[in-house]
Amino acid sequence: MFKPLDPLLHSELRLAVVSLLIGVEEAEFPYIKEQTGATAGNLSVQIDKLSAAGYVEVEKTFKGKRPCTLCRITPAGLQAFEAYVEALRTYLPVGQSS
């Protein structure tokens, strides 16, 4: 039985962003941009979508005098990611889902 995939996470860039944030406490915008290879504009739009859904928390702060945008995954985002991975298993061929 196929489980529905969260459309918010079923996107290459948004999934890459969330997967990146899973393993860290927080990450700066330039770091996420470098790791995903996305353009600044596109990444900003996708992070805004994730933030609006409550999956990612965005904090705009300063490092010294330099503006700094920090992103963190939220508990809701973590839950959504786990549910997404669980749902993915139902789409994999038998034997590959474990």
Binding site: S11, L13, L15, S19, L20, G23, E34, Q35, T36, V85
Partner: protein
């Protein structure tokens, strides 16, 4: 990365795997130079103190170990400034805590024994009056070095670092018992090479290969 919404399940899992691996690689990559740096500093100090101990006045030169910590720390800060910083993570912090614990425990034991040997602190602090106590400080520190490296290897999932840690720790512990006096510092230098510098080089070369 283009905006694609019609991914297959396999592609989704591939993206997840790659992203997580990239994060881990960033942390591993940043640990290479600090390992090599601290290893080098310990080797230099070991050989310097060995020379001074043997030819210039005896074990009192062990006080130079006091200078290792600030020098090593400054060098580490310089390395951190020139590396692309990895974002804070549980793994990165755990490694920091491992080596901080090592520094605190070994520093405390080492300095207590050192000050007792110099007569600054009373012997009764560690042993009842009249008891003779023999401690191979080098063995203890070698063991702690080895444990620190081994645990770091487990956290970073690096078999090479785990093996180097075990060899350095166990080998250093028993080898240090074979030597007395200044010669023990040869063992300290060797343990540092095996437990710190070689793992650092391995990680450095592995990351070079992946770039």
């Amino acid at each position: 990365m283009e905006e694609k919404n019609n991914m297959t399940a396999e592609r989704s899992l591939e993206i997840i795997r790659e992203s997580i691996e990239r994060s881990q690689r960033a942390i591993t990559k940043n640990s290479a130079l600090p390992l090599i740096w601290w290893g080098s500093v310990v080797v230099v100090f070991s050989l310097l103190i060995l020379y001074l101990w043997k030819y210039q006045g005896g074990p009192v030169w062990n006080v130079l170990w006091l200078a290792l910590w600030p020098l090593g720390y400054l060098g580490n800060r310089l390395i951190d400034k020139h590396q692309t910083p990895a974002p804070p993570s549980f793994v990165g912090k755990t490694i920091g805590h491992i080596w901080a614990s090592f520094g605190i425990v070994c520093g405390f034991i080492g300095w207590t024994v050192c000050f007792i040997g110099l007569g600054v602190l009373p012997m009764e602090l560690i042993a009842p009056q009249g008891h003779v106590v023999c401690i191979s400080l080098t063995s203890i520190i070698a063991l702690c070095f080895g444990m620190g490296s081994t645990i770091t290897g487990f956290v970073l999932k690096s078999l090479a670092i785990e093996i180097c840690g075990i060899i350095g720790g166990v080998g250093g512990f028993f080898l240090a018992l074979q030597f007395g006096g200044a010669e023990q510092l040869y063992v300290m230098a060797a343990v540092s090479v095996v437990s710190l510098m070689i793992p650092g080089l391995i990680v450095y070369l592995q990351n070079k290969g992946k770039e």
